[in-house]
Amino acid sequence: MRRIHLTSAAALSALVVGTSATAATQGTLGATSTGTVSISASVPNRVRISGLSDVAFTNVDPSVNASNAQNVCVWSNTSTKGYRVTASGSGAANAFTLANAALTVPYTVEWAATTGQTSGTALATGTPFTGLTSLATNSNCASGPSSSASLIVRIAATDLQTMNAATSYTGTLTLLVAPE
């Protein structure tokens, strides 16, 4: 069995400083008395990635490219709902590789900013994929669209053919999402 474990991370950007409002007003003595309070708060840029599932390529045919696509939820609260994603693997120098001791096999990662895709833009480890936009309206897609992006993981047939049979290769893919 060959398995890729996925983990996620989120990032934040510059905070938005709140603005002051008018001062509270105090009530006077009377048949009724009215007071007011000004309230202010600022919400910084935030993103969230959720809905990730582990990927298991099990007993795959080494003569055929192996591919696994999953729908995930990426939410961004910026005015443009923009974000960027950076992927890194657990191999040497954060390479996208699975390993069993000294044995390794590479895999590739693709990202699409819409859900339900089986192909996307190939990601390079450590290199942000920028200019993405989310359609999610809830931070974990509990309402609105149930997912908002696609993650595709592939192992080429030529690489499958280098793997030892009945040997489990594992690795971890980390996805860092940041607001734009």
Binding site: G18, T25, T32, T34, V37, I39
Partner: protein
């Protein structure tokens, strides 16, 4: 003579103090920049609520400045709902949740002076809460609003 005595009694009827209330010591609430949107943001303040009635009773009604008098902060077209709680004791961090435009009755004040300049320094608690459920789905931005509290005697 009898008629004259009766007229005199009407003219000398003792004046009654009218039922009066007053709310003071309100402070603006600045939640600042909320770095952790996964937890509730809570701001409580002790205020002075004075009631001149025999029972020192009063009621309170809250309204917000968002459309429909909703208890929500506004940033452009975006809304951020907040919760208002009231406690008839000072120094409290929780109380009875208020609904916009709905009067909470049956409150009693311990204040002995209309601005709490003597006696208890404060007599009630106003608690404002930004729930994490709202924060975690809020659009980025600076939100503002005004909460109006109307007090009536009971």
């Amino acid at each position: 003579m009898i008629l004259g005595a009766a007229l005199l009694a009407f003219g000398a009827a003792p004046a009654k103090a009218q039922n009066r209330v007053r709310i003071t010591k309100l402070s603006d609430v600045a939640f600042g920049s909320l770095s952790n949107l996964s937890v509730d943001a809570i701001q409580a303040q002790s205020i002075c609520l004075f009631s001149q009635t025999a029972t020192k009773g009063y009621n309170v009604r809250a309204t917000g400045s968002a459309p429909g008098s909703a208890l929500a902060l506004v940033s452009g077209a975006n809304l951020l709902a907040y919760e208002v709680q009231w406690n008839q004791l000072s120094g409290q961090s929780s109380g009875t949740q208020l609904t916009s435009g709905v009067t909470l009755t049956g409150q009693t004040s311990l204040a002995t002076q209309q601005t709490c300049n003597s006696g208890p320094a404060t007599s009630a608690s106003l608690i404002l809460i930004l729930r994490s459920t709202a924060l975690s789905n809020a659009r980025a931005g600076s939100y503002t609003g005004t909460l109006t509290l109307v007090i009536g005697p009971e």
